[in-house]
Point group: C2
Chain length 700, copies 2
């Protein structure tokens, strides 16, 4: 922006851009893999220990061990989250989405958040909560990208100068989009799905070139994961078996379908839509309650986490006792009952030669439970009552778990609940349907995902990549379309709800209908502070102190121009840098070239979060305050402007399409001051506008 | 835009939008299926007849039949194309891309183009040209969408009033995007690929809501195709066997790969990049030559088509004679030699029990040839020399075929050539590689596609959906990334080249670097014609006659405003509608409300191509010409404006991001006329700017 670059610099820039994508892919792949190994090992040891005690019929001891380890893990996760980085709680996808919309919320992508997100997620998932590691992986990917883009963290003295090349919002946003895509790719082993997720859900602006770069990043992730899994196949990774990274095999033998199947699928779609929107509604309510509780301090957060943890543990240990023991099927490749940590046939309290089907779902990691639900071995494997009990408890646990102070993804609870009711529907239609129950479980998961998250193409591709079965495509599309349409009648997607609940000023791509009735001049922010082209230092310091505006219009006045005219816009951060150098003059004269000489374009580059010059750090004596400074060199002389009589809806579209932070409003008629106001993101928020014009109908 | 709509109307609008998508999906699916059946039957009968004569050793007769039928089909296609709709020649993808960029070129989406595209494509493909039906299918889908959106064609008296609801550019563009996606989905049976194609290659603007609607459209296409193929499995579709719609089965047994494979794949990527950019270069040269030939008239076009047809026929009939006869393998499910029309083991001139491998490639439909190349039956099936001969001839034939006056897709020639050199590389690395040669053929096709078309994600997904093998994903990504990167060094993608060669003013999303040195005021179009708010009829008619501008600024002058100020922008089409109604007044008075009463919003809706009011149709007497008309009701009072000192690069980004047609330039200083110029698409074209400022370095 500041000076046109030389050829060498452009080349360096391009190489760096791709190198960053490579790094993001490598690191996110590594972290994703580490995450999985850790969860599988911690949860595996816990389950094996408990299971062995159960086999010896030491039930109480088993319960103590189970509750104890779950609570310990939960407390570890909660301490990390409550004391080190509160921003790491929750899914992280809404925050990434908001960041990519241009909202630079506090410490969302800080290094501490990254650290807590990784370890908190491991502890929470291993601790048996009904949460996934997918949302946190997306946040992790975005954090990694952000840290790389900032060239490390100054706070922890981990900075690399040569990495600090991307200093503007757009480049950073691009990197973080790549990071989010890499996160999805690492969580689901779905590279194409990752790209589509970034496109459909995360990004607010999109360029074709970005498609190409996110694709490269996710390809790197896929290669990294594949080679590590190849390495682990030898058995060097402890309890990490085949299963670590979810990848479900669904048999493709029977994928023809008839009319009854289609009816069942339409029904699944409708159910998914209704349950999904209800889920969103309840999650929103619970979140609002929790946020009141959580505001009381870290201690309260901790108590809430422990309470939910104990409840979850009791449900998952207690409910299987209600289930009838089933005799092991005779023609079986697997062990029955299962001895190791995973497998479909948990013995639990049953006599030898029998298994407890509910324990196979509850008494397992979430990934294994999903794998069991998607299994096609035997459609009588689960009793209807067990599936029903499981569905109800997971649905409720999922709702009360999101919002506690641990990193918690929403994908896994939703898939679990969806797969269980899908399997129920499959069983009920069993006599007339030709599709396998495992495919019904998949379609059920799809319908519930569509009903809560309201993505379509990306979910479809992610599920296809998860199950490696392209023949399901038309059915998946159908079920997603129905469930999304049904759920859209009731409320918004869960991520949009969370963004709104957190009060982040998310800028929609479309203008609200009532904006058509207003003009840009009508909502522009109140008392306007402007600077002259050559301004007294005192005025600037005073203005910076009194307001927290980030941009100030600059006006040229006679004798420096023929008449009073708009020169441009100056940013707070640039003003601070200029003031720090103290290139002041006693009189109102222009010393443009001299100021230029003192600076490099680098000095004005956007610093990482919380790293800029602060007003408090600057100190001026009386004499300096009476001097003048030439603002021309740091003024953006061609800011985007709209006439005050422009329709607000059009101004909003302009603001969003170009990703602006400030939009200057100029007067329509001459003879008035050359600037009528300034529009920022907050001025476009419906709440703000409806506050100014309470008589407006917000829906019209 | 004109009046805010009522709730009922919004509901009607939404229902119609989705109904249109459904219709587009249904019709495109039907056409795609019809297309395939026709090609398979025509080409099948032709090949069966020739083949039977060959088996009886009547070689000369066979040649006469083969040449005769090919020439007849070629002439049929060329006559349709040359005399009825010249716009139907070629792939159609560049035209669709240009349309979606906002270029409304003549008759690109007319009903005659649709008709010729469908039948011309059938004849051309069945006539043995090295062309595909995929590009034409995309164009067909777009035409269908356009016709539906316009509510039929007025020229052919096929109009439905109730369908004529989408009257603005954006809705039409959305429909055509859906149509293009449906075309890809129908051509490749790749619904997700279709969506991604529309996103990556076709569309210039993209909204999340569109993703969702294109997805629905392609899902409908997939369902339609599937049910028809189910129906045809009974044998009711003549010679349409399994194979009509390309869907290649590649065995998934052996998809592990080692280092030698990776080296071979990198090599494939590089080769694909080099061959691809060379292909683009040669296609461009040949196209420029052909366009000179084709300009001489339909007769010359016809001769060119026949010449290319005879050349292609001779090559495909003559070259197999050079090949050695191979003995049939003994352990085989298929017949050998093949008796019917398709199959891998063409007897050609060979003695019984032998087959001619080159004839299996040449003497077949293109789809079957690709299927044969992707077959994994036996890696010695094709001799290296045969593959080499086939590659060279297809590469050259592909280049000289594109640009003749028949609908011709580029996908199939590129896949054919790519698959053959991929198979060659696979054979050469055969001793050290572990991947199957069929997978090498697939990767070769991918590399050449990446090298010519420069798409990544969409090609990858299309190929995955074609081969139904997700395990190839990382390798496909790798090869596409390499070939695209290599090819990008040399030139642009083939579709971009064709758009440029056709002289269409395509607006790129990014601004050229030299635009940073210019200001918006410096390039705005010359002698500016403005109207007063209440203007004399004579002046308007005169201005409309003298210029072909589509937008005129309107300026309010005293006594109707305090000072001379910009009122807005009025469009030529709206002016013509206003003039037709002849609501004139003798004096300069405002009769805003009266004019309103005479019109409905519908009257000003954008008509379909060539359907608006024409200036020649309007007739005014002397008295009327001296009267005044109030332009305020039809003036867009909040047009987007930029200050004349705004950087041209920023203005270009604004222009593209908002999809504008006119951008008003206002003066910076007061005291001058309130409008300094108007910027249109042509003003942003690099050729135009470099014409105005010849001293600028276009690369800096």
């Amino acid at each position: 922006d500041w000076r046109s670059r030389k050829k060498k610099e452009i080349f360096q820039y391009i190489i760096l851009k791709w190198a960053f994508c490579l790094c993001i892919g490598l690191i996110t792949g590594l972290v994703g893999f580490f995450n999985n190994i850790a969860v599988e090992n911690i949860a595996g040891h816990k389950l094996r220990l408990t299971n062995n005690l159960m086999l010896k019929e030491k039930y109480f001891q088993a319960f103590v061990v189970y509750v104890g380890s779950n609570s310990a893990l939960a407390i570890a996760a909660a301490i990390l989250c409550a004391y080190i980085a509160p921003a790491a709680a929750g899914s992280g996808i809404p925050e990434v989405k908001a960041y990519l919309n241009g909202i630079d919320a506090y410490s969302i992508l800080a290094p501490s958040t990254l650290f807590v997100k990784i370890f908190g997620s491991i502890f929470a998932v291993a601790g048996g909560f009904v949460v996934g590691k997918e949302g946190p992986m997306v946040h992790t990917g975005a954090c990694i990208a952000s840290l790389l883009g900032q060239g490390g963290s100054r706070k922890y003295r981990l900075t690399w100068k040569w990495l600090r090349y991307f200093k503007n919002d757009r480049d950073r946003r691009d990197l973080i989009t790549c990071g989010a895509a890499a996160g999805v790719a690492a969580a689901f082993r779905a590279p194409v799905g990752g790209v589509l997720f970034a496109l459909e859900e995360a990004a607010s602006w999109w360029r074709s070139a970005l498609l190409w770069r996110t694709f490269f990043t996710t390809a790197v992730v896929a290669v990294v994961l594949r080679s590590f899994m190849e390495f682990c196949r030898g058995g060097q990774c402890g309890l990490f078996g085949e299963g670590g990274l979810i990848m479900f095999k669904i048999n493709t033998e029977n994928s023809t379908y008839g009319t009854p199947d289609l009816i069942a699928i339409v029904l699944l779609g409708v159910i998914g839509g209704v349950f999904g929107s209800l889920y969103n509604y309840l999650v929103d309510k619970v979140l609002r309650t929790y946020s009141i509780i959580n505001e009381r301090g870290p201690g309260t957060k901790l108590i809430l986490v422990v309470a939910v943890s104990i409840l979850t543990t009791c449900v998952s240990f207690g409910l299987p006792w209600l289930s009838q023991c089933l005799p092991c099927p005779t023609d079986l490749d697997d062990q029955c009952p299962t001895v190791g940590r995973s497998g479909n046939y948990k013995n639990f309290q049953c006599p030898p030669g029998h298994y407890n089907d509910l324990a196979s779902l509850f008494f397992n990691t979430n990934d294994d439970a999903i794998r069991n639900l998607f299994t096609s071995a035997n459609d009588k494997h689960f009793q209807l009552s067990s599936l029903f009990v499981f569905f109800v408890s997971i649905y409720c646990l999922g709702i009360i778990t999101y919002g506690i102070a641990v990193p918690s993804g929403l994908f896994i609870p939703v898939i679990l609940a969806g797969a269980s009711y899908g399997r129920i529907v499959g069983r009920l239609f069993g006599s007339v349907a030709t599709l396998d129950v495992s495919l019904y479980a998949l379609l059920g998961a799809a319908s519930f995902l569509g009903g809560t998250m309201r993505m379509t193409v990306s979910l479809c591709v992610i599920l296809l990549e998860l199950t490696n079965n392209l023949l399901m495509l038309p059915l998946l599309m159908l079920v997603l379309l129905i469930s999304k349409s049904v759920a859209d009648i009731f409320n918004k997607g869960v991520y949009d709800q969370i963004v709104k609940m957190k009060g982040l000023p998310f800028m929609e791509a479309h203008a609200e209908p009532f904006m058509r009735q207003l003009v840009a001049g009508g909502v522009a922010s109140g008392p306007l502070i402007t600077f002259s082209g050559i301004e007294k230092v005192d005025n600037i310091v005073h203005a910076l102190k009194m307001t927290n505006h980030n941009g100030f219009p600059v006006i040229d006045e006679p004798p420096f121009s023929d008449s009073s005219e708009l020169c441009g816009l100056v940013l707070r951060s640039h003003l601070l840098v200029l003031l720090r150098e103290k290139k002041f003059t006693k009189k109102k004269v222009s010393l443009r070239s001299e100021i230029w000489r003192g600076f490099k374009a680098h000095d004005f580059a956007k610093p990482g979060s919380g790293k800029g010059v602060k007003l408090e750090d600057l100190d001026f004596n009386e004499e300096e305050l009476e001097m003048f400074v030439d603002l021309h060199p740091i003024t953006n002389t061609s800011p985007y402007t709209v006439v005050e009589s422009m329709s607000l809806a059009k101004a909003a579209i302009l603001f969003h399409a170009l990703g602006l932070r400030h939009l200057l409003v100029v007067p329509k008629t001459p003879g008035r001051p050359p600037i009528a106001g300034i529009l920022t993101r907050h001025d476009f928020m419906p709440e703000h506008i409806l506050g100014l014009y309470p008589h407006l109908n917000p829906h019209k």
